[in-house]
């Protein structure tokens, strides 16, 4: 299944706002902001994020893919999910 970038972006942002920002949409973060560096989530948050990706987008995130380059910003997540869904 192929996902459209805009839809992935908005669904990931909705998950982050709901799960880590107490639903507060006024908190601003850019698509390239590092979740860890900005303090949006900790290592437990990353585990929850991976569970969300697997459940919501139906992809499998392997151990080798648990990398900041794949998972640490909205931008990297959009590319990652798109690359997985094109496989």
């Amino acid at each position: 299944m192929e996902f459209e970038a805009g839809k992935i972006r908005s669904e990931i942002r909705a998950f982050i706002v709901d799960s880590y920002l107490l639903g507060d949409e006024s908190v601003k973060f850019s698509d390239s902001d590092s979740f860890m560096s900005c303090g949006i989530m900790d290592s437990m948050g990353i585990l929850e994020l991976v569970a969300f990706l697997e459940q919501h987008f139906g992809v499998t995130v392997t151990d080798d893919e648990m990398l900041p380059t794949n998972l640490d910003s909205v931008e990297s997540l959009v590319s990652f999910i798109r690359s997985k869904s094109n496989c």
Binding site: D42, I46, D63, M66
Partner: protein, 324 residues
């Protein structure tokens, strides 16, 4: 100062003297107590802290408390008794298995494990590990759960967040009950509880908040693990304790601290960390440590991320200042 392989070598005599003076001052002047209670496990950190307390306060003002439970290694008690005898302080044993059973520690942990491995029962041993060296790539922390029956092949799966959180929350009851036990004895004697965490544990969050992190003073919290070993040798700690591989003493299959948490041997961990703290370029640190520049960069990134991610663990309870 140029970064070199002995940069973390202490002047052990001078540091021991400074630590002992600080322990005396903190216990007497700040905490208004007249002795120290230390949880002793036969590990290097609790050994050094109890030896320092005995030297600083006098062995008659130190109480070592062994707190095994049904999954503890039997070797811990033997070593803990040996160290108490050597440094001359009293050691007592409090088995916390009954308390943990009362809190459903094992039951709650096993319930979570069964979500990943439905066949899991008491005949298995279990442990949590991180997958590989932190130097090989810049990876996020995630955890594998391994269960194994004696003589059979191990089963390993990546932990889901819910399973991980429940296994850790249940297992942390062990450290929290130990803290409760130490405070019982501290209050009974009007003494203070000494924390045994070193800098690696304290700053990278390898402790349980209000568990082993709950103490009145923490004498070695600013010392790297490899410096704790230097103090141990200077203080005359038994070789068996110095040579023992540090474990979590929390999971039944026996989990080393390297495979459970740090992902790297302590020498390279501490040296990389010191290099990062003192703004040594990764290339220079890599040369001294015999690793690639990329590996040093991964190490820097991993350590920095762990310190940042565990900051809330080190915060005291937050208070709210209401405006006038």
């Amino acid at each position: 100062m140029k970064f070199h392989e002995d940069i973390l070598k202490l002047d052990v005599a001078r540091v021991t003297k400074q630590l002992c003076e600080a322990i005396r001052r903190q216990v007497r002047d700040d905490l208004k107590k007249s002795g120290a209670v230390v949880g002793i496990s036969g590990g290097i950190d609790s050994t050094v802290v109890s030896a320092l307390c005995a030297r600083a306060l006098g062995p008659e003002r130190v109480l070592g408390v062994m707190m095994p439970e049904q999954e503890s290694s039997g070797e811990s008690e033997t070593l803990a008794r040996q160290l108490a005898a050597q440094f001359g302080f009293e050691a007592i044993k409090e088995d916390i298995t009954g308390g943990l059973t009362g809190l459903s520690c094992y039951e709650k942990r096993d319930e979570a494990i069964k979500q990943l491995f439905p066949m899991y029962d008491k005949s298995y041993k279990c442990k949590i590990t991180i997958p590989e060296s932190i130097l090989s790539k810049d990876t996020f922390n995630f955890f594998h759960l391994t269960i194994q029956k004696p003589g059979e092949e191990a089963n390993t799966k990546r932990m889901t967040p819910n399973v991980y959180a429940q296994v850790v929350a249940a297992s942390n009851l062990k450290q929290r009950l130990r803290m409760t036990t130490l405070y019982y004895h501290a209050e009974r004697c009007n003494w203070a509880v000494a924390g045994t965490g070193n800098k690696d544990e304290h700053m990278q969050g390898f402790f349980v908040k209000y568990g082993d992190g709950g103490a009145d003073f923490k004498p070695i919290a600013n010392l790297f693990k490899i410096q704790v070993y230097q103090l141990a040798e200077y203080l005359g700690v038994p070789t068996e304790i110095i040579k023992r591989i540090p474990t979590t003493d929390t999971y039944s299959a026996g989990s080393t601290q390297e495979e459970f948490f740090f992902g790297l041997d302590f020498y390279r961990m501490d040296m990389l960390w010191h290099a990062m703290e003192t703004n040594v370029p990764a290339a220079e640190a890599a040369k001294v440590l015999g690793i690639s520049v990329q590996e040093a960069e991964h190490g820097y990134a991993h350590i920095a991320r762990k310190i940042q991610a565990t900051e809330p663990l080190r915060l005291p309870p937050l208070e709210i200042d209401l405006p006038e």
